[in-house]
Amino acid sequence: MKKVTFIEAITEALAEEMERDERVFLIGEDIGAYGGVFKATKGLYEKFGPMRVIDSPISEAFIAGGSVGAALMGMRAVPEIQFADFITPAMDQIIQQAAKLRYRSGGSYKVPIVFRVCCGGGIGGGLYHSQSNEAWFVDQPGLKVLFPSTPYDAKGLLKAAIRDENPVIYFEHKKLYRSIKQDIPEEDYTVPIGKAEVRTKGENVTIITYGLMVHYSLEASEKLSKEGISVEVIDLRTLLPLDKETILESVKKTGKAVVVHEANKTGGVGAEISAIIAEEAFEYLDAPIARVAGPDVPAIPFAPPMEDFFMVNPEKIANAVRKITAY
């Protein structure tokens, strides 16, 4: 075992997969000699050279669409979208090409790509360096969407994604990059796509969440356990395809569900999860489903008091749990 940060886990996954499979290549802004703005690709340019760690111009449409074309020719592209906020110029290529090429070609092409997307707020990034737009992609069949919360999962899921034959959007919350460390195995491992993980067992309420919010939910659950409320925290890890079984099994046991995410509430991932619970576990519920999410404003504002106001935190999560526990 060795202790690594979240971002070290990502760098290791990239290096090991590039070593294992010469078809794997990286493309993105500032990922070459500079090593990426968050240093996710540190050392890889020196090791694999400029045609496998490609510094691109500021051209997200090409980063995405070029990856699609290369993938069709048998390469395994791992483009980096420096900030989730900047993915919009690539949307045509992700939504119309990557996600639909297999379908529109009657299954005759495959598109193995992993879009590494750096997202998330709470770090003073302001309006355009803080967004979490995973819901856009969860709405697009043909894609897979991952959102790890731990170094172990970050590495294992990234490796699984690179070995997958389908286009994957892999979200990395930037606040996790250096804030948590974890022991991970020395040897090669993967984490299965589409499987949630129960982070803590509980009896009274189920929290369903992912990414940074897993850690905040665990903090909340610790606090709540002292108040006699036993909380089960489910870390989704994969948002598309959703592990419905794990969600439903837990909710059927606890009878109460709180869905937590950082992104704004309306049309968010929480809306889908709430709908699934309402459709498939209605008779087990003994309280309304609660959602804890960002407010419906265009993005996370810059001024620190407003950013704090926007962000979901352990206290907001605990309050939501207390409220539905009262039913």
């Binding site: 090409f62 990856s67 020719m73 390469m75 045509d92 090409q97 389908n166």
Partner: protein
């Protein structure tokens, strides 16, 4: 007509056959749509055949075609069986896309024709990525990217050509400038007259040619393809041409002057090429008639194949979402 070296008379005759096959197949598609033999619409490329058939002719199986929606000729010349083209138009189960896409959005993975989306210029970006793959893997395959004048106004188009210029990618960009982006004339699309001027901004050569002159298209595209294959980078070839009919068959194209259409119909690429072949005794009347008969027979068989092919079952709508199974 320009002189082209390294091409045999048999090959010139084969190009003639492919041009006539494309033209007649395309006209048949229009007719069948008007007879309501299939649904949706139909995007004809009649008048533009030289710009698609000729650059594609002679490419390797491993070379890539990144088409748009008016590239029936590139598919025919790459060797896509025309019965599969017809099955695609008819949205039948036997089509390479199994009825999922849209008439005229032809693709065929075994010959590396990339099934296009309808978002104009998107395919230029994807094609450039295929060329990047060849560059990374150090193989001497090339990509031929086809698009219209309209595509050159898109942002992704600029990003792709800019990238191709930086890395000298093995791709040839063939712009079929037919003067109209659906109903919008060139003067409202760009302040340029010759779209090949755009290439200057990307750092590789751009040329404007008569897209209805088969021999000129042949010479120019062959040079560009050989150059790309050698690793000497991209070329932008603007082929001035004209689509005789509307954007699709539901568009009467009454935004265009009758005189403009008539002038371009006189510049029909096929009779001009035919005259060249006959005058130079590369083709004779007897061979020509044989080709015409052969083409009609092949088209009849293709239509028959499509019409006898079943539709996909309704629930096949759920297939081909993910590789390795469609359970999400």
């Amino acid at each position: 007509m320009a002189i082209v070296t390294n091409i045999s008379n048999d090959q010139l005759k084969e190009i003639y056959y492919l041009l006539v096959l494309t033209r007649n197949l395309d006209e048949r598609g229009r007719k069948l749509f008007k007879q309501a033999r299939f649904t949706g619409t139909y995007f004809s490329a009649v008048g533009q055949e030289a710009t698609t058939v000729v650059p594609t002719y002679g490419l390797r199986k491993e070379d890539v075609i990144a088409p748009s929606h008016r590239e029936i000729g590139a598919n025919v010349a790459k060797g896509v069986p025309i019965k599969l083209i017809m099955a695609q138009i008819y949205a039948r189960k036997t089509s390479p896309d199994k009825g999922k896409s849209h008439p005229c959005h032809y693709g065929y993975a075994p010959l590396r024709v990339i099934t296009p989306a309808s978002t104009v210029a998107a395919q230029v970006v994807v094609g450039t990525g295929a060329a990047l793959a060849f560059k990374i893997r150090k193989v001497d395959n090339v990509v031929v990217s086809f698009f219209g004048d309209g595509a050159t106004s898109r942002g992704g188009f600029h990003e792709a050509l800019n990238f191709a210029g930086i890395h000298k990618l093995p791709i040839v960009y063939i712009c079929q400038n037919n003067l109209w982006a659906e109903s919008v004339p060139l003067r409202l699309q760009t302040a340029l007259t010759d779209l090949s001027e755009r290439a200057k901004a990307y750092g590789f050569p751009g040329v404007t040619i008569d897209g209805n002159d088969v021999m000129e298209v042949l010479r120019t595209s062959r040079e560009a393809i050989e150059k790309a294959r050698r690793g000497d980078g991209s070329t932008f070839i603007e082929c001035k041409t004209y689509r005789w009919y509307g954007h699709s068959e539901i568009d009467p194209a009454n935004y265009r002057a009758k005189e403009e259409l008539e002038a371009w119909m006189k510049k029909d690429p096929i009779p001009h090429y035919e005259k060249y072949l006959l005058e130079n005794k590369i083709l004779d009347e007897k061979e020509k008639n044989k080709i015409l008969v052969k083409v009609e027979k092949e088209i009849d068989e293709a239509v028959d194949f499509a019409e006898k092919s079943p539709y996909p079952a309704p629930e096949e709508a759920l297939e081909d979402v993910y590789y390795g199974g469609d359970k999400t």
